[in-house]
Symmetry: C2
Subunit: 356 residues, 2 copies
């Protein structure tokens, strides 16, 4: 059996590193190239440890390849794992699609800000789009044409047990303790505001062409999602919260080759579900309400990034994150006809959010 | 689209009646014939209400057909729904297989007492074998080649909340109140002893060729089963306890055509699981231990039927049901090389159980 080649966009990040670990444990996959950013020390370590011949960084263009496309053109990888955050990640994905057969997607901006464009490009180049996020991977594994509703879970983040009237007293350090997942700073704050869950609802809408999406707060992170079928059947995806499982699935799909026979217990503690509190998570509910408005989704992402930065530098209080996001989105409208439009709306939204 | 023809074996029983109701609600299916037993009044009602042209009963052989095979030969139904309990059901199934394309199976004796024979016949005649039981339907809907373990749930029956030392005081009327399903008398007692769950483990073993089968007590009956995959994923089948859903699935598979968009809540109450108590349910554990011994499985079924009869007529106490079953099975051994062997072992076992 021929080995499948994988290029990782964002090899030094959390998803990138876990992808390297997963591929070490799988037969029939190898890293044909990696892309990284400024973390040159970690990149060097990875290149050495995994014997990686091909690598590219926009910050070190004197290396082997002067552009990402040059590397991709040479490698034509079977799979591109897209795990560069932000608009850099979105651009790298658009550059990659013509050169691969499968896009294993972690960069949330791709679908949140450019869903229809990414999907069109994938269709045009016959590229499979497989989500890596645990919730979307769960739905992807369970989805079929009989699904009329989907449910994804949310941890509720660091504020889950904080009273509403105490939210404005929270400092960055209170927020950066996430109960389930250990992630970067922005996504940990996004988890506390549930802005990340609004992003995931938008991504699910793009991936599965479905609007009927419920979210439940679920503390243990053991239920990742569920599909509700027309005949009354519900299929639930259950397992330990471990990103290596969906990463491996995105590589080996439609097979499952990751040997990891460990399952959480059938214990009521692993099946706690609560409704999302509208007053506690206003940004989430706002995000859900703009599901089909791409311009506002771009503004939502841009304003959130600005607001989170200002919260982390203690320039605003925690509840003001939602205020900035909603205020910005309410002032942004328009059609999105091209990738350039996305960048333009993003820029305008950032400026607007900065000035609030 | 051509309509699919269905013959119901056991049209006047609970599964038979629910099958009639389901088919009324489905397009593209019709009843081409029914088989019933002694319940002539209900049969007449059904025949009239559903405009059924072809019917057969071994108790009324002066009707249209003098044998089941005569009717089946004429009808060649797309689907046979097998819902006659006991060995009568087993014989009717063996007679039906050559004349149909799909066997939708509810008769538990078929797989418990004759699993390898039924499977061989189905393979020989290229007949699809689709389970109707809610637990097996759930596993069937979730099963794939990556499953390394399955889990099915049990209500724990009427004795779930009864202390062990009170079991011998229970009268038939105490047992005949089932918490979730409304079923016949024998199966309600079998539910209290969890003998029915031992049957289901045996059936799952035959259907899915898997030995690694866990059972959890689960009071609400909302989780029907789960599959545990090699990569750490668990897929859970969740829904209201309603036999019409798996009946419809057995007819419409691989599609889902039953319009029934009602789902239980994601509420911890719907996800309670307990381990099965070995001292409270000894017959269940014994049944699991003889999973691969077909002769003892036949004895298990035969002795249970005798023991339940004696309990219902108040000749023995509730805990003695298990004693009779285990004692009988321990004294029965041998190879099962033919259907005749099955009948022989059944007869010997019944005699043995009677004499205990």
């Amino acid at each position: 059996m021929e080995k499948k080649s994988v290029v990782i966009l964002g090899a030094t990040g959390s998803i990138g590193i876990q992808t390297l670990e997963v591929i070490e444990k799988l037969d029939n996959f190898y890293i044909s190239g990696i892309v990284f950013g400024k973390n040159i020390n970690l990149a060097r370590e990875i290149i050495k440890k995994h014997n990686i011949e091909n690598y590219y960084s926009p910050y070190f263009p004197t290396y082997k390849f002067s552009t990402l496309e040059e590397m991709l053109e040479k490698l034509n990888p079977d799979i591109v794992v897209a795990a560069i955050p932000g608009f850099d990640g979105l651009i790298a994905i658009l550059q990659s699609i013509p050169y691969t057969k499968r896009l294993a997607l972690a960069t949330k901006e791709a679908l949140v800000c450019a869903g229809p464009f990414i999907k069109n490009e994938c269709e045009k180049h016959k590229v499979e789009l497989i989500p890596i996020d645990s919730e979307h991977s769960a739905i992807f594994q369970l989805f079929d044409e009989n699904v009329v509703k989907i449910m994804i879970t949310a941890s509720g983040g660091a504020v889950r047990n904080v009273k509403k009237n105490k939210l404005s007293k929270l400092k960055p350090n209170d927020i950066l303790k996430h109960p389930v997942w250990n992630m970067g700073k922005r996504i940990t704050v996004d988890s506390a505001t549930m802005v990340n869950k609004a992003f995931e609802v938008m991504e699910a809408y793009e991936l599965f062409n479905i609007e009927n999406i419920d979210v439940h707060i679920h503390p243990t992170g053991t239920v990742h999602g569920a599909v509700l079928l027309n005949d009354g059947t519900v299929k639930i995806h259950f397992g330990f919260p471990d990103m290596k499982v969906p990463i491996a699935y995105s590589l080996t799909y439609p097979e499952r080759k990751f040997n990891n026979p460990k399952w959480p217990k059938f214990d009521p503690k692993n099946f706690e579900f609560y409704n999302v509190d509208e007053e506690k998570y206003p940004a989430f509910f706002y995000g859900k309400s703009i599901l089909k408005d791409l311009a506002k989704r771009i503004a939502f992402n841009a304003a959130d990034e600005i607001a989170v930065q200002r919260f982390l530098t203690e320039k605003i209080k925690f509840p003001q994150i939602a205020d900035i996001i909603i205020n910005t989105c309410e002032n942004i409208r328009g059609n999105v006809n091209s990738i350039d439009d996305i960048f333009e709306i993003d820029k305008i939204s950032r400026n607007f959010a900065q000035e609030i």
